[in-house]
């Protein structure tokens, strides 16, 4: 048995995947560290008093957290209230809600973890793992549903906290993942601990984001009793009809072009607990037909009483959006604002600088921008935490492009 005070931290970054564990037993501290998947090295240190040991433990944890380690299964308030960290479309998700993502494959050998995604034939270690289901280029139609069915039939599925839906087969097909949605809906009561759902961990190398055909997920999301966080990639055919959920806190829609009809579904949803909403608006060519006016009901502040983190990103009208947000009633209660990935330039920045409420934000993400150097200087220190990276020099307004559009 592990002592109850054991805490595990992991860092997966580029090629390195390391863990660090600490546990306290009276005045003795046990620290283990190494590559994920190995037992690592263990060190035991004795202190004069239990207090001295716990002080040292707290110091070490601060140090590790500062270095970029995050706690496995750590669900401190900040992690949940903030939207998930920017998930690029180039790498499969490694961590979801601070859990390690493991691949579920009923045909996998019960093999040791490799540096490629670990696969297991059944659900295990659900205190530190969440699971993904996906097919690869060598799999055929039907494989996905068979794998998902096996996961749903696993005796431990009631303890599963996160599920990642990877490529399902022919993602651009107009039928969309309707059969996947039906299967999840039928099994929703079994997924009683499921806090997080990522639908569409599909990479740019696997499919065009603007071609990923989604379906109506409204009923499925509403039926998952513990759901707090949902991330959907792909906007084509995406619907969220009759979405109502008392616990859902965070919604992220990553699209190459988000349509008015999808936005309407969202604006009509009953989500009293929604704290973070992130939308990649995308471009007109790929179905992104939302105008600033369409966002007015959202920006009025009447819709979601708890909303405090807003991302309106990857837009060709990023300046107008910045202006609309800065002039909106909603801005006064926002704690975080993300206007990254789009065509934001000095014009949008002026609107932010002219808005007193912006200074009260805890964070402001303006990454991927077209600012002048002078504007970068003026924006520094605009609020507690501001991201001004990935500045692009454009010859003119027509030379600006959004980050994700292909």
């Amino acid at each position: 048995m592990q002592p109850p005070s054991r805490r595990r931290f992991e860092m997966i970054e580029g090629a390195s995947s390391k863990f660090w564990e600490i546990s306290q037993d009276g005045a003795s501290l046990t620290v283990s560290y190494g590559r994920i998947g190995t037992a690592g090295t263990q060190k035991v240190t004795e202190f004069g008093t239990p207090e001295a040991a716990s002080n040292e433990a707290a110091r070490l944890i601060r140090e590790k957290t500062k270095k970029g380690y995050s706690e496995v299964g750590g669900s401190n308030a900040q992690d949940i209230f903030r939207p998930p960290t920017h998930q690029d479309c180039h790498r499969q998700i490694q961590r979801f809600m601070n859990y390690t993502v493991t691949n579920f494959d009923p045909d996998a050998e019960a093999r040791a973890e490799e540096d490629g995604r670990a696969s297991t034939p059944n659900l295990r270690d659900l205190d530190r793992r969440v699971y993904s289901v996906r097919v690869g280029y060598e799999d055929d139609e039907g494989t996905f549903v068979r794998r998902l069915q096996a996961l749903l039939d696993d005796p431990k599925v009631g303890d599963l906290k996160g599920l990642v839906i990877g490529p399902w087969f022919c993602e651009y097909d107009e039928d969309g993942p309707g059969d996947v949605a039906a299967l999840l809906l039928a099994n929703a009561p079994r997924l009683r601990s499921l806090k997080g759902l990522f639908i569409g961990d599909i990479l740019g190398e696997e499919a065009e984001i603007s071609w990923i055909h989604q379906c109506d997920w409204g009923k499925v999301l509403s039926a998952l009793p513990a759901l707090e966080q949902v991330l959907i990639r792909g906007g084509e055919g995406l619907e969220l009809k009759d979405l109502r959920h008392p616990r859902l806190r965070s919604i992220t829609l990553q699209t190459g072009g988000l349509s008015k009809t999808t936005l309407q579904d969202l604006l009509q949803a009953d989500l009293p607990a929604l704290r973070a909403l992130t939308l990649w608006l995308g471009v007109d060519d790929y179905g992104g037909d939302i105008t600033v006016d369409d966002l007015a009901p959202l920006l009025s502040g009447h819709l979601f009483p708890e909303l405090e983190h807003l991302g309106l990103q990857d837009s060709e009208d990023q300046d107008d959006i910045a202006q609309a947000v800065a002039n909106s009633p909603l801005i006064t209660r926002l704690k975080g604002l993300d206007l990254s990935m789009g065509t934001l330039s000095d014009r949008g920045a002026e609107a932010l600088l002219a808005c007193p409420a912006v200074a009260g934000l805890r964070w402001l993400n303006l990454r991927h921008n077209y600012f002048s150097e002078a504007m970068i200087k003026r924006l520094k220190g605009i609020c507690a935490e501001v991201n001004l990276s990935d500045r692009i020099k454009a010859d003119g307004p027509n030379d600006r492009y959004v980050e994700v559009s292909e």
């Binding site: 690029d88 280029y137 107009e174 190398e205 084509e236």
Partner: protein, 358 residues
Amino acid sequence: MPSPYTLLIGEAGSRRNLAWQKACDRAGMECRELSWYDALTAPERIRLPAHGTLRVDSPGTDARVWSLLSGLPASLPGERRPGRAWAAGLRQALCNFELCIPKSQWLSPATTIMTMVDKWATYTHLQSKVPQPITQLAGPTIEALLDQMATLSWGQAFIKPRFGSSGAGVVALRRGPRGRLRATTPARLEAGRVFNHKRLLSTEDPVIIAQLLNPVLEDGALLQRWIPKLSAPQGPMDFRVVVVGGHATVRVARVGQGPITNLHLNAARAQLSEVLSPEAEARVVNAAESTARCFSEATLVGVDLALDLAHRPYVLECNAWGDHLPGLLWHEKDCQDWQVQHILQALGRPGGTGEVAA
């Protein structure tokens, strides 16, 4: 014992020639240069003492040389050059060189150079020996090509000119809903002619796609399955491993803005260790060395590889002249140094006794 000596047939005044010359200088090896133009027009100048080594480098971009080899009029700067006639001329030229200098004196013999210049020959040569994406000879028109992809049930594929390398003319093609197509390529159409650019662009216009693809297909192309590549956070990546005398030397990861990752398309260079775990790096290097073993007579093989999403390596292509990686070192030696050392070692020379990459 006579001093070591090389004859270099290359593009006059090119950075490639300079790099080779510098490596020879560093090792104290004499090197005589002969331009491809002179080698083709004055073959009597292809002479080499019995202990010398012949290095035949890429004919490069010289328009006169290209015309001599292909028998076709010179193209406009940057214009795509058809490869089949060029490759046929190259084969003939190498045969002629072989009449002047026996095979045993070639750094890499003509046959292996020709196999690597012809991507279909390379594919069939390596088949069932190393992992490669499934590849077929592409149909002669866009219609035939799309039928072929439909029969194979492939949603995405690369179309690569059969002859030559460097990403010129390569098209990443996707089939989408309702018959939609999307092509990503450095090629551009200007007044009906195809030019190569330094930036990848995507288009969904079926007319443009056909105009870009048809000349490539007519000239002979491969249809290669597009296996999703393991990507770096900035974009898709593949790897070039330069194998010299059977041992992996200089290696580099190329991180692209899109699916085609050649360095001249402004892909970013990275160390393998920056983007891969030690285990994955070892798999890439081992696969490259296994590939080079299939060309046992070639001193130099530049192997391009990628990893799939399960971190399994596969070979994309082999380059007989895949050593143009300026500024990249492995154990303080560049690609040319490693080859010079290999020559000296073969001659049992001091300076050639240094360690070889394990």
